[in-house]
Amino acid sequence: MSDDYTSTGITGADKILGEKGIPRGHSILVAGGPGSGKTTFAMQFLYKGATEYDEPGIYISLDEDPEDVKNNMSKFGWDLGKLEQEKKLAFINVSPVRVTSSEKAGLIQLGMKEFKLIKLLEAIREGIDGVQARRVVIDPITIFTLQYPDEVERIYAMRDLIADFRKTGCTNLLISELRGTGLEREHQFEEYLAQGVILLRTVMKDDKYTRMFQVEKMRGLEVDNQPRPYNITTSGIEVYPTLTVFK
């Protein structure tokens, strides 16, 4: 794979991405419903990057405790703690909820105002420098956007974040909740800003799940944008790029 592209590390997904991967330096929105494997997708991206492509990465957690994430991922046989020690992977916890949880007053979280874009960018830069990262994951980006109740402010903040990533040369995944399942859904503004959008959907019909992987947008790349089935197996996520989704 040429250096212009970043392999996703997800079995079958690169084939959908024109056999190439994600264009380097792009910010990709990975949106999925609950239980669709978003965090698994993101961690697999980092883990394979560090172990197979010699591309260190950082995981910026805005929600979950990194320790929980590490524990959860051990079921796929990924030893993330070891990668952390080897400086191939860094976990950065900037969870605003956790930091300020002791200063909660009513419904308002006091620490919230502290969480500024500038701080997040600093933390990201430090993290990138610390491990010479080439891959970044922000999980979930939803928390970040919630910091900006004003829509205009929110768009600017998001644009700055993406522009900053572009400068670092890191390929990054912004993990987001997907509002509305099934085929009808609202589009989120992040989707317009990001250079690519990957959807992980689970459709429930009768009593069975159908999982669909779909690259909805990938700027600068000819992609297969049909939904394709995927599975969460014992070794991570597998996408089946040649198969059709049956309902």
């Binding site: 009768d206 009593d207 069975k208 799940y209 159908t210 999982r211 089935p229 599975n231 089946y240 040649t242 198969l243 059709t244 989704v245 049956f246 309902k247």
Partner: protein
């Protein structure tokens, strides 16, 4: 068109087999699967109504022994929520979820390769019941794509379990359609459309599971003996005419080939096969003196047998061969002569250790075992049961004689000895059964000798007294006679599969030894000619004149169509290993052609 032809799936295409439950669809697809494995074509078996373990038991009952070419998609256990121990080579799917089926098949295909896989889908009924007409999309978007990429699919569908128009829609997607039904004692297969053949109607009798005895009786009832050919055969058997059946090469074959074919065949079913050979030889022993065969026996034998009851009544011949002195006349006389004629060995009756109703014989230079010293198993499979059968026949079937080997070259003894008693022998079963590892060892031993012959020109067989050759009679017993007698799907499969594995093994070894493709083939052919297997000619096709597998089958005209099962398997295995080509049998001496012929594809 024959059943065998439609059981050979096309190289690519989706064949839909429909029929009411119980019409025999599953059995049919099991046969197709086994044949495919025999031809070394990998099989992905999707099972929706049984667990793979049950399918395996059924396939093994039909003669399958090696399952490396077989991958399962278990769409039964998960669908019905069975908790089963995870089995390697099996991927689980749920009939309710067509995606899981397509994913599981795709994952198995990663192991079998992108092309040349046979997918058996037994059956589409349950995915249809779960997903309704969406199944048509599954057929169109997944199965026909899979097929058109160079694979073959046999998918089963129960008639009458869904809407007519849905079944019609499914059929419109298929490249081939076959319908199966049972009427009275006939199984009817209507080939409605097929990529390889014109529409046809095939009828096969529905048979109860044949025993060796019932198959033998069926064989006798189908028998159409050509007196002229049978007379030639008798001349050949008695050594009067040593080239009665094969004018050019003669009626003797190197005993290495006999052993090689027998032990290759044995690889497929080490437990059941030896017992099968034993039973068939015994039946044939009785048959050789029966009314049907009597007209063709040498006149002295004929006369004797015709007056045998009278002679017995007069006390000249005993009613029963219990006493040692009575058996001595047989052992030193006809038995030894017969064994020598066909060069199966030199027979001696051991009167010192024999007792009433417990007779001991020794065979020197037994063709079954010669050269296989101390391989850890008894191996005499032709003479002892054949003699036991004859003896039962001479006693008019009052008592059933059995025999067990007590000493054998294969056990490290210098000769073979066996005991014959007029009753069942409890240890017989375990004595006949072989461990797969022992059969592998014997086969390996034979392979080493073959390689030494091919690459270092070492002698193949060195039998001082009777020489290296053996008559077609024991060869017929290994190749075909038992098959015919058994009506035997199972025997036929063992021959095909054993042949395919052996041919492949030989090919692989020669390529590993650094021979180029043409030299490897040439060497094997010259070995076969050296063994007097037949006379070969290879250009665009392979031809064999006087092929030992089919030359003697013409004495019983019960076959239609090609029936060189071992030779076909062997050539196919050899050519696929060396040249990545396959062969297809098109002509056969046993079917009345003047030579056997294979197309190279």
């Amino acid at each position: 068109m024959s059943l065998a032809q439609i059981q050979e799936p096309p190289d690519k295409g989706l064949i839909l087999l429909s029929g009411a439950p119980g019409a025999g669809k599953s059995t049919f697809c099991h046969q197709v699967a086994i044949k495919s494995i025999a031809a070394e074509r990998p099989v992905i078996f999707v099972t929706t109504e049984q667990r793979p373990a049950e399918v395996i038991v059924h396939l093994q009952g039909m003669g399958l022994a090696v399952t490396t070419e077989l991958k399962f998609v278990d769409a039964f256990s998960e669908t019905v929520g069975l908790n089963v121990a995870r089995v390697p080579d099996t991927i689980y799917a749920n009939c309710a979820d067509l995606n899981s089926l397509s994913i599981a098949i795709t994952k198995q295909q990663e192991k079998t390769g992108p092309q040349n896989t046979l997918l058996v889908f037994d059956s589409l009924t349950s995915p249809y019941l779960f997903n309704g007409v969406e199944i048509v999309k599954f057929l169109r978007l997944f199965l026909s794509k899979f097929a058109s990429e160079g694979n073959s699919i046999l998918a089963l569908m129960d008639e009458g379990c869904g809407k007519e128009e849905d079944l019609g829609a499914m059929m419109s997607v298929a490249d081939g359609i076959m319908k199966m039904e049972v009427k009275e004692s006939l199984r009817i297969i209507n080939v409605v459309k097929h990529p390889k053949m014109t529409p046809a109607r095939i009828e096969v009798p529905v048979e109860a599971k044949p025993t060796i005895k019932s198959s033998f009786d069926a064989f006798k009832s189908r028998l159409r003996i050509d007196p002229n050919i049978m007379r030639l055969w008798m001349q050949s058997m008695s050594g009067k005419n040593k080239a009665a059946m094969r004018k050019e090469i003669g009626d003797y074959v190197n005993l290495f080939w006999l052993q090689f074919t027998r032990w290759s065949t044995m690889l497929w079913d080490p437990k059941g096969f030896p017992a099968m050979i034993y039973e068939v030889n015994k039946e044939d022993g009785g048959f050789s003196l029966s009314k049907e065969m009597r007209p063709f026996l040498p006149w002295r034998m004929k006369l004797l047998l015709n007056f045998f009851p009278a002679l017995q009544a007069l006390g000249i011949f005993p009613k029963q061969f219990s006493m040692v002195k009575e058996m001595k006349r047989m052992g030193d006389g006809p038995y030894d002569v017969a064994a020598k004629w066909e060069r199966s060995g030199t027979m001696e009756y051991l009167e010192d250790i024999s007792k009433t109703d417990e007779h001991y014989f020794r065979i020197l230079e037994n063709a079954d075992c010669w050269g296989l010293d101390n391989v850890g198993a008894t191996m005499a499979s032709h003479l002892p049961p054949h003699m036991a059968g004859q003896l039962s026949g001479l006693e008019s079937g009052d008592r059933e004689w059995n025999t067990i080997e007590t000493k054998c070259i294969g056990l490290g003894d210098p000769y073979c000895e066996f005991k014959m008693v007029p009753r069942e022998i409890s240890e017989l079963k375990s004595s006949l059964e072989k461990d797969a590892s022992v059969v592998e060892k014997i086969h390996e031993h034979l392979m080493e000798r073959l390689m030494a012959f091919l690459l270092e020109e070492k002698a193949l067989v060195d039998r001082p007294g009777l020489g290296s050759d053996v008559h077609l009679h024991p060869v017929l017993h290994t190749f075909g006679f038992p098959y015919l007698a058994m009506g035997g799907e199972r025997y036929q499969l063992a021959l095909r599969m054993g042949g395919a594995r052996a041919g492949k093994k030989v090919g692989v070894r020669l390529v590993e030894a650094g021979l180029n493709k043409d030299d490897a083939i040439r060497k094997v052919i010259s070995f076969l000619e050296y063994c007097k297997v037949g006379r070969f000619a290879i250009d665009e096709t392979i031809r064999i004149w006087e092929n030992c597998e089919s030359s003697s089958k013409i004495i019983f005209k019960v076959t239609e169509g090609p029936s060189c099962f071992f030779t076909t398997g062997f050539l196919n295995g050899l050519f696929s290993a060396v040249k990545n080509q396959h062969v297809r049998e098109v002509k056969c001496i046993a079917a009345g052609d003047s030579y056997c012929e294979w197309e190279i594809v």
